[in-house]
Amino acid sequence: KDLTLLSSWDDNYNAVPVFVGQFVEKLKEKSNGDLSVQVRGPETVPPFEQLQPVAGGLFDMLFTHGAYHLGETGMAFGLDAVKDDPIARRESGIYELIDKHYQSRGLKLIGVFSSASGYHFLLRQPIAEDGALKGRKIRASATYHDMVQELQGAVVTLPPSEIYSSLERGVVDGAAWPVFGAMEYRWYEVSDYMTRPTFGVTNQVMLMNLDTWNGLSKQQQDTIMEVARELEVSGRQVFADLWAKEDAAMQEAGLEITQFGPDVAPKVDAMFAEGVWKQVRNRAGADGEAFHKLAVEKGLTSQ
């Protein structure tokens, strides 16, 4: 069977070759060529509009980030506040909850792929005495909105393409982004500091149209799940190595580490998590509540 997969990014984003590329390859191998996947990128459907076409059956699979369909539901976004441990996540029953939620929207959860790293701020000036981002203008998307405010900064909305020039000219004092990005987009040239500790976990989710899923044989379904489950672990390991290299490369390129203040540093992960859970509850209703409760119960979130 030939499946189409819609990806929110093209090959330049490192999660695509690591997860999508590997997924396609391993699936073909394990199914002895029975299952093949054709990948379509963001030039086919814009990233923020991809959930519905997959739910509606125009494409079979989706590889995206939970925040990209935050307008529809915040359920998958919640994973960014869940401890980065693929095995513990699988065992906790969280995936069943998320799966059930997406099934009501005509989608099946295939896997959650962690980049083994989180988010940080790139800053022009080091963290000052306030230990936070007091009075600074920070370019941030909806993902970090609550967190920036919690750190007493002001959110500036700019498209990613404007980050370089706005950092360079001081239009913003900093930008929030996953820890991968500063090298690829050369932001290290226009900012001097990166904040530590990092916070949250960057996750990509893979979903499948429910009818497509139900139309597969039990054997095909098992193969897909097996590949996904293995890749959650092996792909994460690839990313752990990538992240170590990226961290070294950023410091080599001149990005200095600036620590949040002693009062703030232990709390940044919780601040981020709180913002995420707020969105999850707002955007995924009762299922979101249940998700948050379960994560707290299992000790898989800091908030």
């Binding site: 923020f48 519905q52 925040a67 990209y68 935050l70 307008g71 529809e72 009075g135 203008k137 909806a142 909105h145 002001a154 959110v155 500036v156 909305t157 700019l158 239009v171 707002n282 955007r283």
Partner: protein
């Protein structure tokens, strides 16, 4: 061609309906004009707030995006009414009149069909985002159905104007007052 006998009431009702459509179109065009002014002012203010006052608004760019979309979708029906949409009429102009009329009828009917099909599926999506309370992805949460409504409005209203243009190629006068651009 003059309307007479049993057709008169039908024709009268149609003209009333057309007049109603025109009023709606004029009103939404005013919305588009206001949206143009808002877009200009809010973005200029955002630059000043961010750069001079060091206090970006957050809602500025979000509402600017909405007002931009409103210009497009609230102004487009007016262009359908006044035949202001960009097209290439060299071929039509070069044809003998009796053939050109039929080509015109074909294009009006095609235009109407395409707009209404798109409007119909837009309406399905409108119902879905309304029922699901889907939000635009922005710093300020704004319901997506506001804009979906504008899109469905633009498509359907344009569809009805193209239908009117089509009917008027048969009926002669009725209510066509294509006085050109505003």
């Amino acid at each position: 061609m003059s309307a007479s006998g049993p057709f008169r009431p039908v024709r009268h009702a149609l003209c009333l309906l057309a007049a109603f459509q025109d009023v709606i179109t004029r009103i939404t065009f005013v919305v588009a004009v206001i949206a143009s002014a808002y877009l200009t002012l809010v973005l200029a203010w955002e630059v000043i707030a961010r750069y001079a006052l060091n206090n970006p608004t957050g809602w500025g760019p979000d509402t600017a995006a909405i007002s931009f979309a409103l210009i497009t979708f609230c102004a487009a029906p007016m262009l359908a009414w006044k035949s202001g949409h960009a097209n290439m009429n060299m071929v039509v102009n070069a044809l003998p009149e009796h053939i050109a009329v039929w080509l015109q009828r074909f294009t009006w009917l095609l235009a109407c069909t395409v707009c209404l099909i798109a409007a119909w599926f837009g309406f399905a999506e409108l119902k879905r985002v309304f029922a699901g309370n889907v939000m635009m992805i922005a710093v300020t949460p704004i319901p997506k159905w506001w804009l979906m409504l504008a899109i469905v409005y633009a498509l359907s209203n344009m569809g009805f104007y193209f239908l009117r243009h089509f009917l008027c190629t048969w009926a002669g006068s009725c209510e066509q007052n294509n006085t050109g651009a505003t």
